[in-house]
């Protein structure tokens, strides 16, 4: 899975591409940890994540808690239907704000 | 195993009775070979009175079917029930044989083919 980071003043945008499973959740955890030290407002673009397992979900939730403790947030963009279903099953969809595009997610931060 | 040979509407019928096991396959193969040499290509084999059939018996039915198919003929089965039907289904023979309740219908089916 590929992880791309783009930072700007409002928030850091992390784009994920591939399967968030196997060894990738722990790689993502490190990356998110690093990002949170600079910027506690993060946007994760999920539109190209084809599959996520419970460890992957756990990493997202863990990072969310850290972000919130630094008065930030992690907002998600366009999770695929499959990912969305897993999030609904595990009730994780209730703790994340989800947007249909990066712009809308950015806007949500700047309007705050 | 007893084999009764008959003819109905021009189709040769074989009514088998008893145990169709390894000891009966030789007799069946010889009988069938003889019938094929007489020229008939279409047959009905009635298993109503067969109370046991094993892989040898099934194998010789399949071998006979192959021989008839090679002369554009067929073997249709009638009188399949109970344990014999279970064994047929288990060895997937229901896929390659046309199965009828009774001999007469099986014979008639050649006409409407």
């Amino acid at each position: 899975m590929e992880i791309n980071c783009v930072s700007n003043d409002t928030a850091a945008i992390i784009t994920l591409c591939g399967r968030l499973a196997g060894r990738y959740p722990s790689i993502l955890k490190k990356k998110l940890g690093e990002q949170l030290r600079h910027n506690s407002r993060i946007i994760i673009d999920m539109s190209q994540v084809s599959f996520i397992d419970s460890t992957g979900l756990g990493v997202l939730v863990g990072a969310l808690k850290k972000a919130i403790s630094r008065e930030g947030d992690i907002r998600l963009v366009s999770p695929t239907e499959e990912v969305r279903m897993l999030m609904e099953l595990t009730r994780v969809d209730r703790v994340f704000l989800v947007y249909s595009s990066q712009q809308l997610a950015l806007k949500s931060y700047s309007e705050n | 195993m007893k084999i009764r040979i008959d003819e109905m509407n021009g189709i040769r019928t074989l009514a088998l009775a008893g145990r169709f096991d390894a000891s009966a396959t030789g007799g069946f193969k010889d009988t069938f070979k003889g019938l094929l040499q007489e020229g008939a290509a279409n047959y009905v084999v009635d298993l109503q009175k067969v109370d046991y059939i094993d892989s040898g018996g099934l194998g010789s039915l399949v071998s006979a079917l192959r021989q008839t198919r090679s002369v554009d003929g067929d073997i249709r089965i009638s009188g399949l029930s109970g344990k014999v039907r279970s064994v047929f289904e288990l060895t997937r023979l229901h896929r390659i044989f046309e199965i009828f309740d009774d001999e007469l219908q099986a014979v008639k089916s050649y006409r409407t083919n």
Binding site: E81, M85, L89 | S55, L58, L80, R85, F100, Q105, T112
Partner: protein, 463 residues
Amino acid sequence: MNSLIIIREKHYSWLRGLGSADHPAMVTICNKPILEYMVDFIVLVGGKKIRLVFEEPDGSVEAYFGNGERWGVEIEYGNAQADDTIARVVEKNSSFGEQAPLIVIDGLLFIHYDKNARYEINPEGPGTGFLYNSESGSISYSTADAAERSTLVEFTPNLQVSTPSKIVNLFRITMQVLREEQHRYVIPGYGADKGVILGRNVEIGKEVKIHGPVVVGSNVRLLGSAVIGPNVVIGNNVIVDDGAEVRESLVMADTYIGRRLYISAKMVAGSKVVSVSNNASIEVSDEFLLSPLKRSLPINIVRYLINVCGAFLLALLQLIPFCIFFTLGWLKGDLRFNKSRFLLSSDGQTKIFRTPSGFRTGAIDRIIRSLSLDRFALLKEVFSGKLQLVGNRLIPDTAEGREFVKDFSGYSPGIFNYTEADRLDPGAAESEIAERFYSANRGFLTESKSLMKALMNNLLYNT
């Protein structure tokens, strides 16, 4: 009146994707096989004898219906080919008599009958007519003295028939039965309070909340503070763990629903979740979230012990010859081996085994084969349970092999196999017949006989 119910693969095979081990005609609506609804309907309209005609039969249907005693009818079983017309099927099942009227149900149909209604068939004279006819199937009725004309048949009251072809259709029919039509059918289970039907052996935790209408199958455990309903059907052998919430959903048999899971407007089977609103589906790989509950097949201890003893004895007998001849063969450079991957079971497990290749050069090689010493290295697999001493021919792990084994639920490979015991050609139909036949008729005597035959054949035909 007699009835034929024709079960064709073209109508039913899509149900095989749901992962159940039973015949697709046993798929349940509110925990009752769809085939049983058809049988109930025939009984309701006066049928006395029913024959279930299969293109692909399997034991699960016969095991459930038996001879029909439970329903007060005679149930028999028959076969049909894929391209048989209804007329042909009737011909093949001719002992069903020209004496009585005949109803033929052809297709995957859910008939929305009412057990409290009276149904009458009023044909306008002899012949054959349709009570229902569509691309997905038909219900036809022939009078006792039917010729081949088609005359009008009236059926009062009017019949509504659903023809499910997708999972969402099954879901919709289930919800319709659950919400509006429960009183029209005999749904298995015992009515608890308003709109809740429970099967046998259901364990419900003290803090579990159930909001009807809900139908629960047998051998179900609802744990902790789980919440079930409204509008939920739970199949047999299901565990819903603490804190999970299931609403507006169908949980199929043999499923484990993990803690705190939230299931709404879904159909769940094993580890597969299908959303009924948009047909999206996912496979959940985390077993603690959602997983299939395997009905554990009892491991036959006696069989295992007999295999182990036999393997041990054979190993003892072969040990010295093995050492002598293999060393000689190795020194002479006469030995050739192939390493290949073979299938161990019908659920896809595989293992790499070394087998002798086809060369027969050299006297040493021949002696090794005649004493079956080439199997010596495989004997240890009996101890781990991976192979039987005598069993099916090992099928290689190829696409063809996997197809074959998927279709062969009794596949149990052995070091010595039935094909070689009977000296059959492994590629021929006779081999497949023997393999299927013997694996269904296992017994100590027959297996010992096969082992002896295999050993003797190796001895006689290799020297």
